[in-house]
């Protein structure tokens, strides 16, 4: 007889997915705003989009895709009882997240220094469509960055729990759901990248 309460893994995963659907609709709403304003100001969006740093966007895309691979591998590792490997893979994921945010810091610093930031005197003088583009850019990418921060913190907790053995082959709902959250962060970036860095 076991004294630990029974766990409902399917229920835990279902709950996580329901939460992820609300996240999809949250970012979907921001993409919808982008689309509606793009239809209204195509030329201004094109002019503003050319100011984006394609290099930063591409490198960060590769970093996030790689971090997502390691998160998915960590789930496979724990399923095969490879606890130590799972901890290393989660560490790699969190490290990639940190590099992503550091790149974001460099990118935003470069943009701020050119006078592109919400409410800046420069943006008060440009055509309205361009300032809308930058506002949407900072809101969407900023909210995504917040998700990277939360996901990184969550996966750090998960890695510690895997290391302690609280998360193991018989009960890894925490790891599975943490990885799902991280994949959502990757998924959202997959759409941010073309919309803000490439399309225009």
């Amino acid at each position: 007889m076991s004294h630990t309460p029974p766990k409902d893994h399917a229920g835990a995963k279902l709950g996580m997915w329901l939460f992820l659907f609300t996240e999809l609709l949250l970012f979907g709403g921001l993409f919808l705003l982008y689309g509606a304003y793009f239809a209204r100001y195509p030329r201004e969006f094109a002019a503003a989009g050319r100011e984006m740093h394609l290099g930063f966007g591409t490198v960060n895309t590769i970093i996030l895709i790689t971090s997502s691979l390691m998160a998915a591998m960590a789930v496979t590792a724990i399923q095969r009882s490879g606890r130590r490997l799972a901890v290393y893979l989660l560490g790699g994921t969190v490290l990639c997240g940190a590099i992503f945010l550091f790149n974001k810091y460099l990118e935003w610093s470069a943009e701020f220094s050119r006078g592109i930031y919400p409410g800046s005197p420069l943006l008060a003088t440009v055509p309205p469509g361009e300032s809308v583009f930058y506002s949407l850019y900072y809101v969407t990418v900023g909210l995504h960055g917040l998700h990277v921060l939360i996901g990184g913190a969550l996966l750090t907790v998960v890695a510690v729990r895997v290391g302690r053995g609280t998360i193991h082959v018989g009960d890894f709902a925490w790891l599975e759901n943490g990885a799902l959250y991280w994949h959502l962060v990757d998924l959202v970036w997959i759409f941010i990248f073309p919309l803000y860095y490439l399309v225009l």
């Binding site: 076991s2 630990t4 893994h9 399917a10 995963k13 279902l14 997915w17 329901l18 659907f21 999809l24 609709l25 979907g28 709403g29 993409f31 919808l32 689309g35 509606a36 239809a39 209204r40 394609l54 591409t58 895309t61 590769i62 895709i65 790689t66 997502s68 691979l69 998160a71 998915a72 591998m73 789930v75 496979t76 399923q79 095969r80 193991h168 082959v169 018989g170 009960d171 990885a179 799902l180 994949h183 959502l184 990757d186 998924l187 997959i190 759409f191 990248f193 073309p194 919309l195 490439l198 399309v199």
Partner: protein, 96 residues
């Protein structure tokens, strides 16, 4: 005491790595398309490639390919909701 999970499906490292390679190739392709396709074509091209990448992430990294009917239908419902929102908004925005 811990019991093994019944719903376990393990995705091998090889499959995951293959998906990763595909994602990198699609990323290179989307950058190339944005630089070499004139006109409105690259907007739809970029979005189609992003949708393909998103599908790979959901199907393999997020295990959706191996989930049961409930989660698949819920995902479908969420995406249909999003499509209805976007479709109806553009129906208004484009034909005013």
């Amino acid at each position: 005491m811990s019991s093994e999970r019944a719903d376990n499906h393990i995705i091998g490292y090889g499959t995951l790595t293959a998906v990763w390679v595909a994602l990198l190739v699609l990323t290179a392709l989307t950058v190339w398309v944005s630089r070499h396709t004139p006109g409105i074509g690259h907007v739809w091209g970029s979005l189609a490639i992003a949708a393909a990448k998103g599908g790979l992430v959901i199907a393999f990294f997020m295990h959706m390919r191996y989930e049961g009917r409930l989660l698949r239908w819920l995902l479908f419902l969420a995406l249909v909701t999003l499509v209805i929102f976007i479709g109806l908004t553009f129906f208004d925005v484009l034909y005013r």
